[in-house]
Symmetry: C2
Subunit: 379 residues, 2 copies
């Protein structure tokens, strides 16, 4: 059985990238590596829409999140965490692990953060040094309004905005510099179309100034040290050379497609997926502001969402995602970020139709597919 | 745009095979190559359902066809060619190139050869030394009845049956030994799931006896010389080492799936594809006995079949095939042989629906897909 990877990370790696990564390893201090990193770092700035340095860490996305806490805040500092899902929760846990006092704005899973609540919290407590949020909350499929929140944080000289854009960068518009987002984090195994192993973190001048006062001991996730090395087209420790070679290739592909076209494709795939599941009479989990990275779908009444996820994999070779924590069994998630195109959506939808019918749920074959086709045929 | 290869050869190469083929080249006379060829040749016998030697030539399938003429017949010998399409024609041309006298049983493209006409021709002229046919005529998508024709040829001591099974081996049942097929030819870029470059030819004792009397000068396609080398796990000239390493891997995958399961999958994909196009109100080109390797579909009235083929490629990244010779513009062909599965059919059908609508042809989205799903969901 052929295998399909339609999970919100890791995502499929394009053959062009796999091919580049399968070349013999070069040494990370060898002269031939320098132009590779130079090109990758510049193209990352293009992708992040920033003139800020984008540090490349050998870690998962969570490593980038950790670096975005311990490099900027001291124990006892106050942070505002916008928590609308599992990854919102993760910001809180990381902050707490470094002794940061956390205030949370918590919304029920499936809802987006209301920017006005952020304004109110910052007005109430101007000592808050950082706001931590997700641009795209992968556990619920909801996009929070980064632009509106950035407008609130930007004028405050002593507060930085830190955005986990792990399933947002390369999926939809994040204007790092225009909007004034201080720290943006992404991971390699999402829209960057790479295997897991890299976190990329952009840092604004405002955030660097805060970093100067951060006293936490940090050996590995030391962004200032990474920045010094980046200026020499190096990383502080051993560079993940294959991944960075792949990164250069993936960014080259994205530049050839063009950022607007990448976003347009992601929008079209997301629209088609949502239309398809709605046409099948299914409810989308996000109550508002769905992310273009993935579609979280509620299992129909009487059908175990976990079983849908399992049957997709076992009967049709498709790895999607189930629900996390209290959503386990209630939802399943179909990703369409990164190296995804028209027939990935058709595959996901037609397979879901067959899985549901196999589970005894009444389904009209082709109905969801048709709704997707109406959108996918328009380019 | 993601690319899909749904042509009747070359067909997609599985990642497992690509990976094996990307290892460093080994030398074709080195001791580590011998077990590779040994395993591949034995597994080819399994695939061909024969105890006969299966020679491995570095050539396209046509090279295997040439070898099946010049190694067995002399100038002036008589051959009966069963011609129901472009590849039937090719047998005639090859025979004529070697001075063989050809009698043809010709049927209109889209029809299968009636085995009784073969019997009548052989009864009428017992001096015919060989019958040349296609098990699957790729230009029309028709399967000729190899078993019934073999039953007619087998009892005749001075006549051999030569079957071009280039799009049949690994697609549907060809019982080489049980049916008594003397020569069976296939190519690497079809159900063997490899890049082009290899032809495989099995030869029966009856055919070898005829080869002893064949006087044509032959240096490259010398099957007796290949047979001697094969006994030593070698080929006469430089072995295509990467392709043979890939061949071993592809055959390993087919053995793991099991021959009955491979045939069952190919049958299911063919059934689903036919049902889908019929549901869309389209006519299948074969008037009888469609091959499970590919589906030739008539372009609807007023629609240029060549435009369907082009739009599939340009708008949706799908390489299918158009019509050949006088069928150009009249039909298009969707292959489902080799490394093909459920969602390749769904992809082909949903894309055709979108292409037809784009060309102004009335299409109900999802209708063909639904017909395919009814079959594909049953395993």
């Amino acid at each position: 059985m052929k295998k399909y990877l339609l999970a919100p990370g890791p995502t499929p790696v394009p053959p062009e990238v796999l091919s580049a990564m399968s070349l013999p390893i070069i040494h990370h201090r060898a002269p031939e590596f320098l132009p590779v990193l130079d090109e990758a770092k510049k193209d990352l700035q293009w992708l992040f829409q920033t003139k800020n340095d984008v540090m490349i860490l050998v870690s998962t996305g969570t490593g980038g999140m950790v670096a975005s806490v311990n490099n900027f805040l001291n124990p006892g500092d106050k942070a505002l965490v916008l928590n609308g899902g599992k990854f919102g929760e993760r910001w809180t846990k990381i902050c707490q692990a470094f002794g940061v006092q956390v205030e949370e704005i918590k919304v029920e899973w499936g809802y987006a953060i209301d920017p006005q609540t952020v304004k109110a919290a910052l007005d109430k407590d101007p000592s808050i040094k950082a706001v931590y949020m997700q641009a795209s909350e992968t556990s619920t499929g909801v996009a929070h309004d980064t632009k509106a929140i950035a407008e609130i944080v930007k004028p405050r000289a002593n507060t930085i905005l830190v955005v986990d854009a792990i399933t947002a960068i390369g999926v939809f518009d994040i204007k790092t510099d225009d909007w004034g987002v201080d720290i943006v984090v992404t991971g390699s195994q999402k829209a960057l179309m790479l295997p897991p192993g890299l976190a990329c973190v952009s840092v604004s001048d405002k955030a660097w100034a805060m970093a100067d006062k951060a006293k936490n001991s940090k050996f590995y996730f030391n962004l200032k040290k990474e920045r010094e090395n980046l200026a020499k087209n190096q990383t502080a420790f051993t560079s993940a050379v294959s991944l960075i070679i792949g990164l250069r290739e993936a960014l080259k592909m994205m530049k050839a497609e063009g950022l607007e076209n990448v976003f347009g494709r992601q929008q079209r795939l997301a629209d088609a997926t949502r239309a398809a599941y709605k046409a099948l009479g299914m409810e989308l989990f996000p109550k508002q502001s769905p992310s273009n990275a993935l579609t979280a779908v509620c299992a129909p009444a009487g059908v175990d969402g976990q079983q849908i996820y399992k049957d997709l994999r076992v009967k049709y070779g498709i790895t999607a995602a189930g629900g996390q924590d209290h959503l386990k069994g209630k939802i399943f998630r179909i990703a369409h970020l990164g190296y995804a195109d028209t027939f990935d959506v058709i595959t996901a939808v037609s397979a879901t139709e067959m899985v549901l019918k196999g589970l005894g749920h009444p389904v009209e074959f082709g109905k969801g597919v048709a709704a997707a086709q109406e959108i996918l045929c328009k380019k």
